[in-house]
Symmetry: C3
Subunit: 202 residues, 3 copies
Amino acid sequence: MLSLTETIEIAAVVTGAVYGVLLARRHGMDFVGVFSVSFMTAFGGGTLRDVLLDRHPLFWIRFEHYPVLVFIVCAITSLIRRTPGWLHKSLNLPDALGLGLFSVAGTQAALDCGTSGFVAIIFGVITGTFGGVIGDIVCNEIPSLFRPHTPLYATCAFTGGLVYVTAIGLQVPAEVASAVSISMIVLLRLIALKWNICLPGM
Amino acid sequence: MLSLTETIEIAAVVTGAVYGVLLARRHGMDFVGVFSVSFMTAFGGGTLRDVLLDRHPLFWIRFEHYPVLVFIVCAITSLIRRTPGWLHKSLNLPDALGLGLFSVAGTQAALDCGTSGFVAIIFGVITGTFGGVIGDIVCNEIPSLFRPHTPLYATCAFTGGLVYVTAIGLQVPAEVASAVSISMIVLLRLIALKWNICLPGM
Amino acid sequence: MLSLTETIEIAAVVTGAVYGVLLARRHGMDFVGVFSVSFMTAFGGGTLRDVLLDRHPLFWIRFEHYPVLVFIVCAITSLIRRTPGWLHKSLNLPDALGLGLFSVAGTQAALDCGTSGFVAIIFGVITGTFGGVIGDIVCNEIPSLFRPHTPLYATCAFTGGLVYVTAIGLQVPAEVASAVSISMIVLLRLIALKWNICLPGM
């Protein structure tokens, strides 16, 4: 049986992959592009974290079923010619869960490597959000994460990371700190989506 | 005396560098841009592989004559103002040989690092093709590797990697498996070029 | 008390961060974009060097006050709505000092890792100049470093690196070699800016 964490993780990887497929399709790519971009949106953030922190083997090398999963997502979606209208909206929840899970996991991993709290929060944000940044760069777009008029995303990860690091510093048990900060990130993200809360341009 | 492998390798590095020079020139770059881009097209794929697999020192640090070779290629081509019309066509064979050699070497390197077969094939494709992807991104273009209407390239590397991994799994000696899969990649690529075989857009 | 080197280093990090802020603002980014891009322009070159040379922990993980410094620069500049006209010009000197310091430090670090002299010079150039390249790529521009009509920048770093490697090869003490090559890079850069000396397009 899969644990709750594993179930969220799989849902989040599938969601990341589907976002990549949609992004690649908007740019008229072929299957090579679709698979490459969805690989990057699904694994890019965690890969960047692991390379910068020198954690090897990378998680998608260690958990070899994840790349296969992304390949299957790409193969299935390539059979569907038209993107159904409800798809984007239905991805909001698994994406928010993934943002929460991966950001806190990234913060935790950085702390384990001995970084300062502030750097650990940055690594949380990178883990949770930079897959999309890499995908956008490869598709020749300014990353939507960096633009105003997209609902809070990195900000949710940053806030959750701050809560996690503070809680750990206050000797709160890691499981409790994780649960609280993941819930907070998910909640913040869903609120930002619901009321379209964005940062201003600068 | 150079072995066959070394000769192909040198020809492939030169070819990768020349592609970079042509790409950088199309975007009106100066010598700094020409050298940087041709460095990336020549070494980018193998560098990405080594960084992701944590193999150090990188091959162009270990084989220090390769960066010098790329510099010389850039210096010589900078003396030639007009790109001769036959150049692109004459690069097809050494490029196909390099695609075969580097893809299989990348698959082999990943297997040596203990990755799964599927991940090893992906590393083969990265090694053989991502130099051009990085060059295109730096030149602010959507990677031509990801676009329909360019003859099969990553697909050839993927197929050859699949053959290699299967053969190794069947206890075929590594030399035989290498020779067969490299030949297959080269052949597939030349056929794709000859009859302009492409993947469809998605 | 801060040493001269530390003072230059801090001034150069602040300058790199300010360049990132200006770049991100020109592209209408929000605070997430401004901080991310200024992080990349400030630390991108040294990070790329350390990842390629497998030097860990990265310098901005080890010296944890630097990321905080960049965050403060972003927070302060975000309060200033209009970029003052004199800002760009006043950055020329600290930027030139940073180019000198970081390029020579990068060359030195590569030599310490056992690379050849030519590769060490390349690492110097990467350290001194690739922060801006990464920032430009993320902002969907062809790197200004690679374009003609921008005054010599990588060329200064390359020349200084060449002087440094030659001096070390001739048994000149490292402190003397450093001082001479840093001064030469700063001088060359200021001369190139003053008389608008550029490389031609190719």
